[in-house]
C-alpha cells in the first residue's frame, strides 16, 4: 500500500498501513511534522492537502479523485485506500537544524586564547523551548572551542510550554521528555561540538544549563504538572549540583552539572541568566529587559530592585500559526522593504528562494505596509490598492475567506506556491505584540513609570537579534524610544550558563538574583486588559505614546 507524498519538488513513497494517523506514518518515514499541540487536532501546524485516495478525516470517510485538494490535519487523518497521494507544504514540516542562536556577548569569551591539549573542558547549554544551543569551552580561560545548536527534540511531542506540561501527566511521560532533551538533543550536540574541536566527550567535566522553568524541570526529570495551572508553582527554583551520569549525559560520568536557578513558574533560569549577563543590577540606575519570544518576559530594574512578569505572546513571532509562517532558517523571508508602488523587496535567509516568512519578516511587512498606507491601524488591507498593484489574493479559511497580500508570487518562490500574508495572520501578530507591549506598560504603570522615560532598554533572546528596531516601534511592539537607548544582548541565557562555568562567583550571584524579583501576575492587575486592547492597534489606540510614528487617517 504505497502512499505518495509530494514535498515541494521532492516525491517520496512510503508503505501505508491503515491504522496510524498520517502524522504517525510520516514520522516513521522520518518526516517530522509540526505537532505543537501534541497531535490533538488543535493547532493546525500539521496541515496538508489530500490529493487522491480514501481517507478517514475527523471521523468522516472521504474518497477523493485524482487532482483533488482537500485540506486536512495530518494528526486527525488516516488513509483507508490501497494507495493515496498527499501534498505536504514546507511550512508543516519541522525542519531539523535550527537557527544559529549561540551568539552572545560575554566579557571573556575570547576566542583568540588557546587551550592546552589536556585541560578539562566544560559545556554551557541554553535549553530553549524551541532551540537548544551549546558552546564547548575551556573554563579556565573562557576560550570557546566549538558551538552547536539544534531544535529541542521535545518539539516532536508538543510545541509550546503549556502543551509540554499537558503531555507530562505521568512520571513515565516526564522521562520521555527528559530523554528527548538529553539523549536526543544535548548528547548529540556534545558529540558534534567535541568532534568539531577534535576532543573526546569524556574530557567535558562540567556542564551548566539555563532555560525556562519547565525546560529546567524536564532536564532534571522533575514533574511539571503544577506549573500548568493556578498558582503555577514549580517543584523548586534552586537546584543542587548533580552528577552527569545520573542524568544520562554523554560526558565524564562523574562530571558536575549546574542549573541556573529560576524565579517562578513562568520566570525561569533563562531570565535570571539574562539579568546577570546584562548587568541589570550591577550597573545600577533604571532599566528594562525584555526577552521577546513565545512567552515574552519583562524585567524592570531600579536601583537594586527587580520586578518581573511574563506575557504569553504566543508563537506568531516564531512564524507558527501563520499561513506561510515558518521558523527563521534558510528559505524564510527575514526582512521586507517596499515602495509606494507595493514592489516588495524580500531578504531571504540563505540567499535562495523563499517558501515562507519568519517573525522579523512579518514585523517588517506590517511596519512598511502601515507606513505606505496599505495596512490600516486595525491591521486591515486597502483591498483596492492591493488589487491595483496585482498583489491581491484570497485565502480560504474554515469559514469564509481572508484577504491576503502576495509577497512572493508562485513563480518566484521556492515551492511553486505564492508566499502570502493574510489578514488572519496579521491578527495573530497583533495579539502577540499587544500582549508584549501591554505587559510592559502594565508593569511600568504599577511603578508609576512611563514607558517613554526608560533610559536603558535591553532586548534578550535569539529572535531580538534579528528584528529591525524602528519597524518594531512602528508596529507598536517596542516603546517609542530613541534607538540608542536599546541594547541587544543576544542569547543571554547561554551567556549566563557560560559565565556560570568561567566565573566562580557567577552561580552565587545568579542565586542571589533569583531571590530578588517580585513576580507580578498580570491577570491580577486591572489595567492589563485595557492596555492589551489598546495595543491591538498599529501602533496603538493611544497614538500619543508613539509620537515618532506617522499616522495616516
Amino acid at each position: 500500500m504505497p502512499l505518495h507524498i509530494q514535498l515541494g519538488s521532492r516525491r517520496v513513497s512510503i508503505a501505508a498501513e491503515a491504522h496510524p494517523t498520517l502524522a504517525q506514518l510520516l514520522e516513521r518515514a522520518g518526516l517530522h511534522l509540526n505537532l505543537r499541540c501534541g497531535g490533538e487536532g488543535i493547532c493546525g501546524g500539521c496541515r496538508l492537502q489530500l490529493a487522491e485516495g480514501t481517507f478517514h478525516v475527523d471521523g468522516v470517510t472521504l474518497t477523493l479523485p485524482a487532482g483533488s485538494r482537500h485540506e486536512a490535519f495530518a494528526c486527525q487523518t488516516r488513509v483507508l485506500s490501497a494507495d493515496g497521494e498527499i501534498i505536504v507544504p514546507a511550512g508543516s514540516l519541522l525542519e531539523t537544524g535550527g537557527q544559529i542562536v549561540s551568539e552572545f556577548h560575554a566579557p571573556n569569551a575570547n576566542s583568540a586564547q588557546t587551550t592546552s591539549a589536556t585541560a578539562p573542558l566544560a559545556a554551557a547549554v541554553d535549553i530553549g523551548t524551541t532551540t537548544v544551543a551549546l558552546v564547548l569551552l575551556d573554563p579556565a580561560t573562557g576560550h570557546i572551542l566549538a558551538r552547536a545548536s539544534q531544535y529541542n527534540q521535545q518539539i516532536r511531542k508538543a510545541d509550546d510550554v503549556a502543551s509540554r506540561i499537558s503531555f507530562c501527566r505521568t512520571e513515565a511521560e516526564v522521562r520521555v521528555m527528559q530523554e528527548l532533551v538529553i539523549g536526543q538533543t544535548i548528547n548529540p550536540l556534545l558529540a558534534e561540538a567535541c568532534a568539531a574541536a577534535g576532543v573526546q566527550t569524556g574530557r567535558v567535566e562540567r556542564l551548566a544549563v539555563a532555560g525556562n522553568t519547565v525546560m529546567e524541570h524536564l532536564f532534571l526529570g522533575l514533574p511539571v504538572e503544577s506549573i500548568g495551572r493556578l498558582p503555577f508553582n514549580a517543584v523548586r527554583h534552586i537546584h543542587p549540583p548533580c552528577e552527569a551520569a545520573t542524568l544520562g549525559l554523554a560526558m565524564r560520568p562523574r562530571g558536575s552539572v549546574d542549573v541556573v536557578p529560576s524565579v517562578a513558574g513562568y520566570i525561569g533560569g533563562d531570565i535570571v541568566a539574562d539579568i546577570h549577563a546584562a548587568h541589570l543590577l550591577s550597573r545600577g540606575g533604571e532599566s528594562v529587559l525584555v526577552d521577546v519570544g513565545t512567552n515574552s518576559e519583562i524585567v524592570y530594574a531600579q536601583g537594586g530592585r527587580l520586578l518581573a512578569c511574563a506575557t504569553a505572546a504566543g508563537p506568531a513571532f516564531e512564524g507558527a500559526g501563520l499561513l506561510h509562517g515558518r521558523r527563521a532558517s534558510p528559505g524564510a523571508i527575514e526582512h521586507v522593504r517596499c515602495d509606494t508602488k507595493l514592489d516588495f523587496q524580500c531578504d531571504v535567509i540563505g540567499g535562495g528562494k523563499a517558501d515562507g516568512i519568519c517573525g522579523s519578516g512579518i514585523i517588517d511587512f506590517l511596519a512598511v505596509g502601515f507606513r505606505c498606507g496599505l495596512i490600516n491601524a486595525h491591521g486591515r488591507f486597502d483591498i483596492e490598492r492591493l488589487q491595483h498593484a496585482g498583489c491581491y489574493a484570497q485565502s480560504p479559511l474554515a469559514r469564509g475567506s481572508s484577504h491576503a497580500c502576495v509577497l512572493v508570487p508562485a513563480a518566484a518562490s521556492a515551492n511553486g506556491q505564492a508566499v502570502v500574508v493574510t489578514e488572519r495572520d496579521i491578527e495573530q501578530v497583533l495579539k502577540a505584540k499587544a500582549a508584549t507591549y501591554a505587559g510592559l506598560k502594565t508593569l511600568l504603570t504599577l511603578q508609576g513609570r512611563n514607558v517613554r522615560d526608560i533610559p536603558r532598554f535591553v532586548l534578550a533572546g535569539g529572535f531580538a537579534r534579528h528584528i529591525d528596531l524602528a519597524n518594531a516601534i512602528t508596529l507598536g511592539l517596542l516603546p517609542d524610544l530613541p534607538l540608542e537607548r536599546f541594547e541587544v544582548l543576544g542569547n543571554g541565557s547561554l551567556a549566563g550558563a557560560y559565565l556560570a562555568l568561567t566565573d566562580a562567583a557567577a552561580l552565587l550571584a545568579m542565586e542571589h538574583i533569583s531571590r530578588l524579583p517580585q513576580a507580578i501576575e498580570l491577570n491580577r492587575t486591572q489595567d492589563f486588559e485595557d492596555n492589551f486592547i489598546d495595543a491591538l492597534l498599529i501602533p496603538n489606540l493611544n497614538t500619543e505614546e508613539f509620537p515618532s510614528v506617522e499616522i495616516h487617517s
Partner: protein, 208 residues
C-alpha cells in the same frame, strides 16, 4: 424612539468616551434606556457580530467595540433594573478553575448582553460548585471558557457535575473544539463570541 445613529456608530467604532457622553446626555434628557438598549446598542453589537462572522471585522475591532458597549451598559444597567426590563433569559459564564484568561470570556459576556441576555459573570478560576450555585440562582445555560490546554480538562468535571441539572453547558476558548465538546457531553460549543450567541439562542429556543 428611532435608532440613535450616533450611538450606533460610536459603539461600532469603539469610541468609548463618545458612547459614555451620548448615553449620559440621552439619559439626562429623559430618553428611555430600554429603547436606547434595544434600538441602538443591541443592534450595534449585532451588526459587529454579523460582520465578524463574515470576516469583515476581526477580534481587535470586536474587543474595542465591546469595551465601548460595556461603558454604555454600565451607565444604563442600574436604570434598566429599576425599569423592570425583561431579559431574553438568564445565563452564567466563567473561566474554569486554574485559568485566569478572561478577555475572550468578557467579550462573549458582552455579546450575550448585547443580544439581550442577563449574564451572571462568575469571573475567573471557577470551580464546578461556583457554576452550580449560579444555576441555583436561575441560570439556564452555563458558559465555560478555558484558554490553556492544561485547564481545558476541567470542563469535563463541570459537565459531569451539572449532568442532572436542566442547565445547558456550552464550552469555548482557543484550545476547545467541537469534538472535545461532544466527547465530554457538553450541550454546545462556540468557536467565537458571535457563535456563542447563536448556540445559546438555539439551545434556549429563544430565536428561531
Amino acid at each position: 424612539m428611532a435608532k440613535n445613529e450616533e450611538l450606533f456608530n460610536a459603539i461600532c467604532k469603539g469610541q468609548r468616551k463618545l458612547v459614555e457622553e451620548i448615553v449620559n446626555q440621552a439619559v439626562a434628557g429623559g430618553a428611555s434606556v430600554v429603547e436606547l438598549l434595544n434600538d441602538s446598542m443591541i443592534p450595534a453589537m449585532r451588526n459587529m457580530g454579523d460582520k465578524f462572522s463574515k470576516n469583515e471585522v476581526y477580534v481587535p475591532e470586536m474587543l474595542i467595540a465591546a469595551r465601548a458597549m460595556a461603558a454604555g451598559l454600565k451607565i444604563i444597567e442600574p436604570i434598566l433594573v429599576s425599569a423592570g426590563h425583561k431579559p431574553l433569559a438568564k445565563v452564567c459564564i466563567g473561566t474554569v478553575k486554574g485559568d485566569l484568561h478572561d478577555i475572550g470570556k468578557n467579550l462573549v459576556a458582552m455579546m450575550l448582553k448585547g443580544a439581550g441576555y442577563e449574564v451572571d459573570d462568575l469571573g475567573v478560576d471557577c470551580d464546578a460548585a461556583k457554576f452550580q450555585a449560579a444555576v441555583d440562582r436561575g441560570a439556564q445555560a452555563v458558559l465555560c471558557s478555558a484558554l490553556l490546554t492544561t485547564t481545558m480538562p476541567y470542563m469535563k468535571t463541570i459537565t459531569e457535575a451539572l449532568r442532572t441539572s436542566t442547565a445547558k453547558v456550552v464550552i469555548g476558548g482557543a484550545p476547545v473544539t467541537q469534538q472535545y465538546a461532544t466527547e465530554i457531553g457538553a450541550a454546545g460549543y462556540g468557536a467565537d463570541a458571535n457563535d456563542a450567541v447563536k448556540v445559546i439562542d438555539q439551545l434556549l429556543g429563544v430565536r428561531a
